[in-house]
């Protein structure tokens, strides 16, 4: 199981996560920040649990590339 978290309020809209993991991230045309697709929001943290382990590599790349370090990816 992969757990991805995005601390969205701190996003500066650089677009890197979308470039590296387009299946999980999109840029919002409303406020210019990244959207973690299908995630659930709680106090500014957007989280999703996914069973597909194939997404690990791309999401880890997105997490590493994020300039504000607001994407966390955990494998359980």
């Amino acid at each position: 199981m992969i757990i991805i978290t995005l601390q969205r309020p701190k996003c500066i809209g650089c677009n890197y996560c979308v470039e590296l993991a387009p299946a999980q991230f999109q840029m919002s045309k409303k406020d210019g920040k990244a959207v973690l697709l299908h995630s659930v929001e709680k106090k500014g943290f957007h989280t999703i649990k996914l069973a597909d382990e194939n997404i690990l590599e791309a999401t880890l790349k997105a997490s590493e590339a994020c300039p504000t370090k607001i994407i966390s990816v955990k494998q359980t």
């Binding site: 701190k10 650089c14 890197y16 840029m27 045309k29 409303k30 210019g32 300039p67």
Partner: protein, 414 residues
């Protein structure tokens, strides 16, 4: 330019503490970022959209102009938030927007918002100034111009009567004090290259401020460089040649430092306020400049140089990784209560100690940054000379204290 023809003093505001410090110390205008699309995009030194009316209210009370910085590079996914932000700025009656991207300039003009051209556009000649005068009333010139070049542009503006949308001659703004970087007008790739963290999206990691060695890859020979900080210029300071700046036709002097602490904003605004006023009343002197320099050295600085204004060929590089400030603040107590009739403030000591005679700094979102010397205090309801962690202290203040305030002790930097 202010209504009475003085150089306009523009202060940075990264939060309400700094905004209040700027207002209390006599700025003519403030610039600030809201949300992510400005050159200090990190959330901790930015306002939120809902803060715009309060910023506007506080500034209007003092007749201070308000400038929203919206000066990063812009992607397609930013276009809606730009429109929303500018619409909110218009509703809050913000004076102008500082823009770099043509999309921002277009939206602002379509809403009838005054536009100032950011230094990121790198205006270095009169023809470019003429071009942007179609959209903007103030242009921030490139940081790399000499005052001789600035003056030539100014003289041509007057000669050719180059006017902005307001119908007035366009005004020249320059950077007056604070950090400079090695990149031309801030257009740097270094942070993006090393950390994916783009300076041009307001996320500079400042890796130029570190020491580097230059190594010949073929031979492994390390170049000997007197100063290791070869990419980190000293901070700009112009207080000692403000007369030349005025003579060059500069109308707006911008202080850098949206990421700096409120006491930094307070100190720098106060010094430049006094300097600009003394230029006008004919009391600008070497002695005064020395006093201001001593004051400016107390807060964050990497050592000072005059930038490129006086025509130096090479930059002056800093000789350390961080600040060379002669003073620093140490957090010691939090605000508890204020007794308005007696003007007594109560604080809870949370660290270190405090003695009568110490200089203290109080900061808070409404209080700003206020400095004073402790002449008398009560410790746990008894008159005392010294307080320690855990004590409740009360001090008489010439201003109001709030529970959101923090109390620091100012100490000399060893």
């Amino acid at each position: 330019m202010t209504k009475d023809g003085k150089i306009e003093l523009m202060a940075p505001a990264g939060n309400f503490e700094s905004l209040q410090a700027a207002l209390d110390n006599g700025c003519d205008s403030v610039y600030f970022g809201v949300e992510q699309l400005n050159m200090r995009a990190r959330a901790s030194i930015n306002f939120e959209m809902n803060d715009l009316p309060e910023i506007s209210r506080r500034c209007k009370e003092k007749g201070v102009r308000t400038y929203l910085t919206l000066n990063t590079i812009i992607y397609d996914h930013d276009l809606t938030i730009i429109k929303t932000l500018l619409q909110k700025a218009k509703e809050a009656d913000i004076t102008a927007v500082i823009a770099m991207d043509q999309a921002v300039i277009m939206v602002a003009r379509s809403l009838g918002i005054e536009v100032h051209i950011s230094t990121q556009i790198n205006i270095t000649n009169i023809e470019t100034a003429k071009f942007y005068a179609m959209f903007a009333d103030t242009i921030v010139l490139s940081r790399e111009l000499s005052l001789r070049q600035v003056k030539k542009i100014y003289e041509q503006i007057v000669k050719d009567q180059i006017k902005g949308p307001s119908g007035n001659l366009i005004e020249i703004e320059i950077f007056g004090h604070g950090a400079l970087c090695m990149a031309v007008s801030g257009k740097c790739y270094m942070s993006l290259h090393a950390f994916n963290s783009s300076a041009n999206r307001g996320a500079c990691k400042q890796n130029c401020r570190k020491p580097y060695k230059v190594i010949d890859q073929e031979t492994g020979f390390e170049m000997e460089i007197d100063n290791e900080y070869i990419m980190s210029p000293q901070d700009l300071c112009t207080i000692d040649f403000l007369d030349k700046i005025k003579d060059a036709g500069v109308k707006v002097l911008k202080l850098e430092g949206r990421g700096r602490a409120p006491e930094y904003v307070a100190k720098v605004v106060k010094c430049y306020r006094e300097a600009i006023d003394s230029l006008e009343d004919g009391t600008y002197s070497k002695e005064k400049v020395n006093d201001w320099m001593n004051e400016l050295e107390k807060v964050y600085n990497r050592g000072f140089w005059s930038g490129y204004y006086l025509g130096q060929k090479l930059g002056a590089w800093s000789d350390g990784p961080g600040s060379q400030a002669t003073q620093k603040k140490v957090y010691i107590a939090k605000g508890m209560h204020f007794y308005p009739k007696a003007m007594i403030g109560e604080f809870k000591m949370e660290a270190y100690d405090l003695k009568v005679g110490d200089t203290i700094l109080i900061t808070g979102p409404t209080t700003g940054a206020q400095e004073l010397i402790v002449e008398e205090m009560f410790v746990n309801d008894q008159k005392g000379e010294k307080a320690q962690k855990g004590d409740l202290i009360t001090i008489k203040f010439p201003f109001r204290i709030r529970p959101s305030d923090k109390l620091y002790k100012i100490v000399e930097n060893s």
